[in-house]
């Protein structure tokens, strides 16, 4: 029998491992459209804890990772309020979650969140993801970052849309494509969401420093 060269086997193994690693998208650990979204229990600016399961009549949610400190988030505050006021009566309320670590981004402290919510009169909860566990589970990378969930027959919530509110962060008057509204309208009509993924420029999430 021929002697097999061990180093060669090692090299083949290494190559295979390399291919496998290249095939799995790196850092893409959060939810994709179609995944089941987990519930959470996070503290609202009024001091009460909020969970998806608190909403008995919801058909879904507009879970929005947003914050005080990002100008893009601030630019979208009024549009987020309008989105809630339009779609909460149809069963799709907004739940805003601030994912930023307050030590890294002091503007996003709980006290500053309370103040911002009061100033703007947010008609939806503004929750603080202090451990950043939910932000990681969802896979949010920027603010603002929307995850629209739809209730399934089993009562679980599935991710139906991931992306941005519309195509123009700078000027609400110049908006031409209302991506989030289009997705919600598809969902309410019982249709497949035609454009379930969109992207926008936003601020990086301020992760806790190790």
């Amino acid at each position: 029998m021929k002697k097999i060269k061990l180093p060669l086997i090692y090299m083949v193994c290494l190559l295979l491992a390399g291919f496998l690693m290249a095939a799995t998208p790196a850092g893409n650990t959060g939810y994709q459209v179609g995944d089941t979204a987990r519930d959470f229990e996070l503290k609202n600016v009024d001091g009460k804890m909020v969970s998806l399961s608190d909403y008995e009549n919801a058909q879904g949610f507009i879970v929005t990772f947003t914050c005080n400190s990002c100008p893009y988030s601030v630019a979208y505050e009024d549009r987020l309020i309008a989105l809630h006021n339009k779609y909460a009566p149809k069963g799709y309320p907004v739940i805003a979650i601030n994912p930023n670590d307050a030590a890294v981004s002091p503007e996003d402290s709980y006290a500053n969140m309370q103040q911002r919510a009061k100033e703007k009169g947010f008609p939806f909860p503004y929750l603080h993801d202090e451990t950043q566990e939910i932000t990681k589970a969802y896979g949010a990378t920027r603010t603002p970052h929307l995850y629209i969930l739809k209730k399934g027959e089993n009562g679980m919530y599935k991710v139906a849309y991931i992306g941005t509110i519309d195509d123009n962060s700078r000027d609400p008057k110049q908006v031409q494509k209302r991506y989030a509204e289009a997705a919600l309208n598809d969902m309410i009509a019982g249709d497949q969401v035609k454009q379930p993924n969109t992207k926008a420029i936003g601020c990086t999430i301020k992760w806790k420093e190790a």
Partner: protein, 165 residues
């Protein structure tokens, strides 16, 4: 008298020249097509393209590292390009003063596009849209790397050393 005047003018000219070399680069407002063209540059050059904005704190923190690379590799095939995501409406009141104050020397572009969903994937499908983000490429050598987060000075230096021709 005329000699003194000549001397005075000469000094003045020198001072002006010194100031003008230290002054910042011009910001060029571009459409996405120009960015795409940059991404396709066929030269044996390492392009270091950083996406930033004047309102982005982590971006501002890492800008000096890119400026340092630009200075350090002057005359070498390494080109730093800083692409601002600021609104074109903010060019005069925000971007220009910022660029002047910091006397930025790298090549400066400002992307004039509204719907990022229409162009992000064409540039880099892995990019979620968060800034800062940096892409390094040398198309001649088929090298490419994309980073969607803030870089430390050490990380950036390592990337440059890894790819510089």
């Amino acid at each position: 008298m005329t000699q003194r005047l000549t001397l005075l003018f000469a000094i003045l000219a020198l001072v002006i020249a010194a100031f003008s070399t230290a002054s910042a680069q011009e910001v060029k407002v571009v459409k996405f097509a120009e960015l795409e063209k940059l991404r396709q540059q066929p030269h044996d050059t390492l392009y270091v393209v950083n996406f930033w904005a004047t309102w982005c704190k982590p971006c501002i923190k890492e800008l000096p590292y890119f400026e340092a690379v630009n200075k350090q590799y002057q005359g070498q095939p390494v080109q730093v390009v800083l692409v601002s995501m600021d609104a074109p409406q903010d060019l005069e009141k925000r971007v220009h003063p910022f660029v002047q104050k910091r006397a930025l020397q790298s090549r400066l572009l400002l992307l004039d596009e509204t719907d990022p969903n229409s162009w992000i994937d064409r540039l880099e499908p892995k990019w979620s849209g968060a800034i800062p983000a940096t892409m390094l490429f040398n198309n001649k050598r088929k090298q490419y790397e994309f980073v969607e987060r803030e870089l430390s000075e050490e990380e950036l230096q390592k990337l440059i050393v890894k790819y510089k021709p």
